[in-house]
Every structure is written in C-alpha cells, then in structure tokens.
Amino acid sequence: MSHNSETLAHEVHEGGHAHRDDVGSKMGIWLFLFTELLLFGGMFILYASYRYIYPNDFKAAALELDPILGAVNTVILLTSSLTVVLGIVALTKNNAKLCMTYLWITQVCGLAFLVNKYFEWTHKIHLGIYPNGPALDDMAQGERVFFGLYYTMTGLHGLHVIVGMAFIGFVMWFIHKKYITSTNLQKLENSGLYWHLVDIIWIFLFPLFYLIH
C-alpha cells in the first residue's frame, strides 16, 4: 500500500510539473484577451457617451465613411479567422503543409485588411479630415469627436492586426521548425484566440462607425 501510494504521489508531481499545462496556458491567454477587451472597452464607453451627447453629429459624420469598404474588410477578417481554425484542424490531422497554406491565407488577409485601411485613412487625410486638419476643424463638435474616436479606435485595432500577424508569423516559423506539431499545438491555438479577438473587436467597430445613419 505504502509503496503504491508513493509511486502515485510521484506521478502526480511529474504530471504537475514536468508536463506542460495546456489548459493553464489557454487560461493565461484568455485573461490577456480580457485585458484587451477592456482596453477597447474604455473606448467603447467613450463612444457610447459621445454618441449619446451628439446623436445627430455622429450620424452626419458616419456618412463620410464608406460602408461597402467596411463590409469588405469585415469579410476579409472573418475569412482570416476561418483559415486559422482550418489550419488548426489540418495540423491535428498531421497535415503541416496544409496548415501552413491556411496560415499564409490568414497573413494575406491581414495584409489586405491593412492595405484597405491605409487607403481609407489616406483618402480621409487627403480630404483634410484628420485631427487639427482644415476640413475637420470646420465641422461640428460632435463630428470632430467622432473622427477623433474613429482614428484612435481603428488605429489601435490596426495595431492589433499587426501584432496578431506577428504572432502568427512566429507560429508559422515554429511549425516550419517542427516546434509546433499535431501533439503540441497550444501556441498555435493561443495565437488563433488572439486573432479571433481582433476579429470580434472589428465586428463591433464596423456597425458602430460605418452603419449608423
């Protein structure tokens, strides 16, 4: 009995320490995602407040944004999210090559999103609609706040897209180096979670900025 219990204890300790804890690392990532959510949450509070203060100005300002462009970007991000999960499935089925293909599609989608955003921003800036810009200074106060929030929130979101692409880039390198394999893919799943969060934030940004008229 005593011998048996000792081996049991030994196993537990090995299990608790030497083995990696996938659930634990996923929990860590989720908690990190919460901080990201509340980072944007602070801005959503500001958005809600200013929309309440300046309802008409917000509607007028939103007319300056092109909903089709926003919708295209939404579909691009949704697709990139899909390819990440498909990549995970491919890797669990031991098909690293297919997984890489899917992740490449994700990267291309991320880049397409950013290019799209770049043209959108430069067009606005060209029109003089930017903080301290000539056109924006002539607008009503609510519209100025709208564009202040627009640039901050989409800018910060764009920054998160870049960070997400970097994470996925590292993961692709690890898959290439066989550090991430079908039995050890928590890093891939975690980067995927981050990427989906970036997607979720855009799911809210899109209607709030482009579709409120």
Binding site: G16, M27, L31, F34, T35, L39, I53, R144, V145
Partner: protein, 553 residues
C-alpha cells in the same frame, strides 16, 4: 525529478545559494525563481519608497511656515505630483502582491513556482522600465510633471511640463501590474497541490486572487485613458478637450473606473496578510474563514460600483451622485465582515503580541479611523464641504499608508525569517512600531482638523491661522520617519547579525512554514498533499514542537 542531474542538490541549499545555470548578478537578473523575483521587487520598491518618503518630508518642511519656506510654488506642485505618482504607482499598488505575493503565494498553495515564470520576470522588468521612464521624464522635455497623480484633463492636455512621458511611465507600470495579476489568477487555478481546494487556501491567497482580478479587469481602462492623453497631446484627437467637443468629465469617469478599484488592489492583499497573522498569533483557527474569503471577492466587485464618489463636485448629474453615494456605503458591508471576523478571532485566542501582530493591531485602529472618515467623504452633503481639503489628504493617508503601508511593514516582519533565514530584534521592532504609529497620528490627524476648518490641499502656502496644525504635522513627520529608520535599521541588522531562523518561528500552520527558511530553489522536495484547512491546528503535528522550543528561549 526530471532535472535532478544538475551538480549539487538544489533541494539542500537555499534559493540564495543555488545559482543554477547563471552565477552572480546574472543569476539574479535573469532568474525565473519566484522568490528571487520577489526579492528583486522588494529591493527596487523600497528604493522608490525611500525617494517618495523624502519628497513627502520636503513637502512637510515647506509647510512649516506660511509663504515660501524652502521651495517655490511650481516646485511644490511638481513635488506633490511626484510624491503621489511614485507612492501610488510604484509602491502602494504593486507593493504586497509583487513582493510577498510572488515570494509567498506559490509556497502557500504548494507549488514549485508560478505558472508563467518568464512572464513573472518580464513584469519585474516592465516595473523597472516604467520607473526608469518616470525618472527620465523628470529631466527631459518641459520639466517635472505638475498635474497631481490624477493627470486630470484638460490641464494635463495643456500643461507645458513633460506629461506625455510620465503618463507613458504609468502606462508601462499598469502593464506590469496586469501581467502579475494574470499570472496569479492562472497560478491559483492551475498550480494548487493535491488536496489544496479553493477553500483550503490561506486567506492571503484569497486576497491576492481577488486583487488579481481587479488588476486584469480594471487596469486596461486606465491604460487606454492614459494613452488617449498622450494621443491628445501629440495629435490633438480631441476626445477630452472641451474646445474640440470633448468632455473632461468623461476623463474623470475613466480615470476613476480604474483608480477606485485600484484602492482595493492596494488593500485586499494586505487584508489577507491580516488574516494570516491573526490566525498565527492567536494560536487558533480564524473565525469565519468562508465569509472572509468571499468578502474579498465581494469587495473586489463592489469596488467597481463606487468610482463616482471621487467626482461629487465635478459637475456630474445629481442622480449619479446620489447613486454613487449610496453604493459607496455598500463597501462597508464586506469590510465590516472582515473586521468583525478578525476581532472575533481574537476572542479566547492565546494572543502572542509579537511585532507583526502589533503592526496588525495598529492597522486595525488606524484603518478604522481612515474607513470611518471615508464614510464622511462618501456622504454626498458632507463631501461638498470637505472636497479638496486636507480632510481628504488625511483620509487617504490613513487608509493607504495606515492600511497598506502598515501591513507592508507587518508582512515584512512576519515573513522576514522565511525570506532571509534570520531573526530581527523583537523589542526594537516593537519600539519602531510604537514610534511610527505615534508619528503617523501626529502627522495626519491634524490634517483632519485643518481640512474641516477649510485648509485646501495642494497649496504651498496657507493662511496664518493654520500654522499651528501644520507645525504639529511637520513634527509628526519627523517622528514617523524616525520610527521607520529604527525599523529598517533593525531589519538590516537582523539580516546580518540576527539569530538563524528556524523553519517555523511563529508556530504558523500554513505551508510556507513547512519548508526551510529560506526555502530551497523549488520550495518542496516533494509536493505536499493537503488534508485540512489552512489554519487547522493538529496537536500531533511536529510544527508545534518548534513553537514550544522557541517559547523556551
């Protein structure tokens, strides 16, 4: 163990002596050991604390006589801002979790380390980088920040001082705090040893757990708020600038959405320490373990509901003022649960009034004064009279310094033998405590009176009729600092000349006292299996032998 092949058995020497792969200073700066990181935090934090105390001392000197005494008005603005920023962001908020949470918590739950050791080291580096940026901001740009630690818009948008960099420092420190919180929540969920259920954890762990949730869910809000200040200063995005349609009141909302819960980041782990110390020095199980544990979570949650009481006079709607005033009183309920359970634990306990216990007793008295005057400020109508007076200054020093500060000292004395393997002089420690508490009250109590009489805060000058109170307070600051000097000299002396500490000098029951002092690298030779609550006293247990031995000396 899998990595038992390293030369020398790490289980046999303390974590100080066992360097691992890297020797000397690199072994410290690149360490992944939670205990070494705790010590790193302790050293860096006490250095910042010393600076902030000096600044406070200078402020008190300035207030010795009306008019310009030793500094100009603008210098005074910078110094109170700096005092606040360093104390709040670099000492009080991270203090107990980063130092004692890191060092003690993993051992208390029977783990070999925190779950993400690399992240843990990274938070320390972020802390140091944040501190360094704050220091750099003093000597660059438009000069030392002068907004007060709250960085209120629109002044923070227009001040010519170097606001952007100091705000960025606070942002980085917030990030460090988030990572610590994230690490602790995951560690407590995933690393508890077999048999260590949630309700068998020491109450210090409950305090840290609740705190960690606030760190995760509130800190990002201040992060974005501070980022918006920076963006506003650089690009003029206009979200807080009233000239551009922004609403400065919303800045205050966002600021206090974090900074009020942050008050509970300061006090919850400290209250956990109180429970542990009381259970140890009354030699009995704590009264009402479950209510105390849950009241930590309750305080953490209610903490999110009351931020508006910082804004009673800022132009918020009447309805919101009444609601926030009402919600503020709710905090008193879980806090009351704690205080009553602590006092009930004393009843029929065999109380051993050692230095840590003395600090805790002082805390209960001082903190009650701070808490009750908090009710005066939380009440809408009395607050209108007292807003922005010395009454507020006195109140938050009683709760922050008298709360977290005193308990930081209490934890330092309580865990000193465990952390450094040496004992300090008990008698001197008690003398230091008395001197400190007398000085503390002499310093801050007159401020209640001054505030009630109408002395506004944040002025370097005052009307002559306030001088008597200012003189008393300044003398109090000298006494208080003397107390702290005695305390630290005593501890440092103990560090070099103190008697070697036994494994369990106080006869405590929690797990950290079942490993050697100081603990070896991975804490436990063999992961413990827990079969009872944290303060359960098994009279057959060998730890009580130690108690008898120590008592004989």
């Amino acid at each position: 163990m899998a990595n038992g092949t390293i030369a020398g058995n790490p289980a046999e020497v303390s974590f100080y002596e066992y360097d691992g792969k890297r020797k000397g200073i690199a072994g410290w700066l690149l360490t992944l050991d939670h205990k070494r990181i705790g010590i790193l935090y302790l050293i860096s934090m006490l250095s910042f604390f010393a600076v902030a105390v000096t600044l406070g001392f200078l402020m008190r000197l300035e207030m010795l006589s009306p008019g310009e005494t030793i500094m100009k008005a603008q210098t005074y603005n910078s110094i109170f801002t700096l005092h606040g920023v360093i104390m709040v962001f670099l000492f009080i908020i991270p203090g107990i979790p980063a130092v004692f949470g890191n060092f003690i918590m993993p051992i208390q739950i029977g783990a070999k380390d925190v779950i993400f050791p690399r992240l843990n080291l990274m938070s320390w580096y972020l802390y140091i980088i944040g501190g360094a940026i704050a220091i750099v901001s003093l000597f660059t740009g438009g000069g030392i920040m002068d907004t007060g630690w709250t960085f209120y818009a629109p002044y923070s948008l227009r001040s010519t001082a170097n606001i952007s960099l100091s705000v960025f420092a606070a942002f980085v420190l917030g990030f460090s705090s988030i990572l610590t919180g994230l690490n602790f929540v995951t560690t407590i969920h995933r690393m508890r040893c077999p048999g260590m259920t949630f309700f068998r954890m020491p109450l210090f762990c409950w305090g840290l757990y609740s705190t960690a949730w606030i760190q995760i869910l509130a800190t990002p809000v201040i992060g974005i708020t501070l980022l918006l200040i920076i963006l506003e200063r650089f690009f003029g995005i206009g979200v807080f600038d009233p000239n551009k349609g922004g609403d400065p009141l919303l800045y205050q909302h966002l600021f206090w959405i974090y900074s009020h819960p942050a008050v509970y980041i300061m006090i919850l782990p400290a209250m956990g320490v109180v429970s542990d110390i009381i259970a140890t020095f009354t030699k009995k199980d704590i009264f009402g373990y479950v209510p105390i544990a849950l009241s930590s979570l309750a305080i953490a949650f209610v903490g999110y509901l009351v931020w508006g009481h910082h804004m009673f006079t800022s132009g918020m709607s009447d309805t919101a003022r009444v609601i926030f005033s009402f919600l503020t009183f709710l905090v008193a309920i879980p806090t009351g649960v704690k205080v009553f359970n602590w006092t009930a634990s004393l009843y029929k306990g065999s109380i051993d009034m050692r230095a840590p216990m003395l600090y805790v007793m002082a805390f209960i008295v001082v903190f009650s004064i701070g808490g009750l005057t908090g009710l005066v400020l939380g009440t809408l109508d009395t607050d209108i009279h007292l807003t922005d007076t010395y009454f507020v200054v006195a109140h938050f020093h009683y709760v922050m310094f008298g709360g977290m500060g005193l308990l930081f000292f209490a934890s330092l004395h309580y865990w000193f033998p465990k952390m450094f393997g040496r004992m300090y002089n008990e008698k001197t420690a008690k003398v230091a405590c008395w001197v400190f508490v007398v000085g503390f009250n002499t310093l801050y109590f007159p401020m209640f009176i001054m505030g009630y009489l109408g002395m506004p805060r944040r002025y370097y000058d005052y009307l002559p009729e306030f001088q008597i109170w200012h003189v008393i307070a300044t003398v109090g600051s000298w006494i208080m600092i003397t107390g702290m000097i005695i305390m630290f000299v005593n501890l440092i002396r103990g560090l070099y000349k103190g008697a070697i500490a036994p494994e369990n000098p106080w006869g405590s029951t929690t797990l950290e006292w079942k490993v050697p002092s100081p603990p070896p690298l991975e804490n436990f030779d063999e992961i413990p299996v827990v079969t009872h609550g944290p303060y359960h006293r098994d009279w057959e247990d060998d730890s009580l032998e130690v108690v008898k031995e120590v008592k004989k000396h």
